[in-house]
Symmetry: C2
Subunit: 282 residues, 2 copies
């Protein structure tokens, strides 16, 4: 079992643990290098299901943080691994974007969904491929009534068809606005089929944590979750028995953290930014 892990939030929200807008946070690359020099495994974690892990590798490398695809876990890659681990039979219907479809393909599943983008007519009678054994849904900015219908009818009409969500984040911050997140797509489908997903993969769900721990053979007692959001990142670490470190460069503000009235919701540690880790090296 590896000595320890630092899992870090790297969503493509504007401000997060490692970057602020498109710029790296001062000291971020040095902090990651320092942790690695101590023999710690650093895993980069995000609930974003729309981008491939390669995209994150490129972004990290571009900011001077060496990374390979195995260092990255997204809600899409963990969802695809979960399909494999749960021995899903048949094809997979994807209501999501290219990053999710690519991960499902990489796990060996024939999948459909992307090729339905742009279909505006719902034929009657409405039928679906009877071989679809699971529907996976995340943020899909090409969502349509046809795709929602196809997913709903697969779940309702195909015996044993599973229903998995990559994540249930309600919103997705972009420049100047808060837009609907994966949770909005999931809510539409859950309402149509009259039940919640059989599993939600992303933070704070422990499905994602178990995927990370087992993939990298890590000991939760010697692992720290570093995140910028109390109700996903820190909750995720707390539920899994990890130590938790909140950084104040992202979503949660110091005021919000100090306003916590339940000790159970407080991170073990907090720092202004990831740069604080470099102080330990001095």
């Amino acid at each position: 079992m590896r000595s320890s892990l630092i899992a870090m939030e790297v969503s493509n929200a504007k401000n997060t643990v490692l970057w602020r807008g498109s710029a790296a946070i001062d000291g971020a690359k040095e902090a990651v290098a320092y942790l690695r020099s101590l023999g710690k495994k650093v895993v980069f974690v995000t609930n974003n299901s729309t981008k491939s892990r390669d995209t994150y590798v490129k972004k990290l490398v571009g900011q001077g943080i060496p990374a390979s695809i195995d260092d990255i876990v997204t809600s899409a890659s963990a969802c695809a691994a979960f399909l494999r681990k749960n021995e899903v039979k048949g094809k997979v219907y994807v209501v999501g974007e290219a990053g999710l479809a690519a991960e499902v393909t990489a796990q060996g599943f024939e999948n459909l969904g992307l090729e339905h983008n742009g279909i505006t007519e719902v034929p009657q009678p409405f039928t679906v491929d009877p071989q679809i054994g699971a529907v996976v849904i995340g943020l899909d900015r090409a969502i349509s009534y046809y795709k929602l219908s196809y997913a709903a009818v697969s779940i309702l009409n195909n015996p044993g068809c599973k229903f998995y969500a990559t994540n249930t984040d309600a919103t997705f911050p972009v420049d100047g606005a808060i837009l609907p997140g994966g949770g909005s797509c999931v809510a539409a489908l859950a309402t149509a089929v009259g039940r919640q997903p059989d599993a939600v993969i992303g933070k704070p769900s422990q499905v994602l944590l178990q995927t990370i721990l087992s993939t990298h053979n890590l000991d939760p007692a010697r692992t720290c979750m570093v995140g910028d959001r109390l109700n996903t990142d820190i909750e995720f670490g707390r539920l899994g028995g990890l130590k938790t470190l909140l950084v104040l460069t992202g979503i949660t503000t110091q005021e919000e953290m100090e306003a916590i009235d339940n000790d159970d919701q407080r991170p073990d540690f907090y720092v202004e930014s990831i740069d604080a880790i470099n102080q330990l090296a001095k």
Copy 2:
């Protein structure tokens, strides 16, 4: 105050109070004619927000049931009347179909939404018309991420912007399948904005009933709701203090009705079909 009303469910579900598929139910036109001969006002009610009231007039007339636009109340027409009654200021953003947009226009509101059909790119920064004072949402088979985003940002960023749903039916039965209903669209938006609608208009909401009663000056104590679905039609009538008559030609089966274990959910009367009313004339 008019002596009484019979409000009848006329959704475009396959089987309902007045038709089964595209065929009229035997005795339906005679039953309506008989009730009218007794001086009773018959109002035709549906939660379907996608079709214009004219469409229902044509369908009824085509089946030998004389009807004018004022005899029809849809969740769309009632929603538009509700906007007017609540003195909504500014423009209205419609996540819905042509029937809803037409009703909103008919109430004098400048509205947008339909012209956003087919937009696939979400620009950044994302901005909305600051004059939008209300978002109305129902079943929209041209729903898109752009329209959901436009609606969400209007609600979140425009001070005082109202959020109304025509109806929250989870599903919509079509030939051979159950497809997502207006409730699915509403759930997506409610999740994104982090709150439920300020009002839901359609059955079983009493907003719709109040619209009917006040428009036609009717006494609820002398009014009967005739419907084919326990959890919308019959609930709607019960909540409003109307008498209720369940017909078994639509969604609810005799077995389901007999399985009710709570007296409060039972209709006052039930008959196999609307044709039973003709027995009263003999």
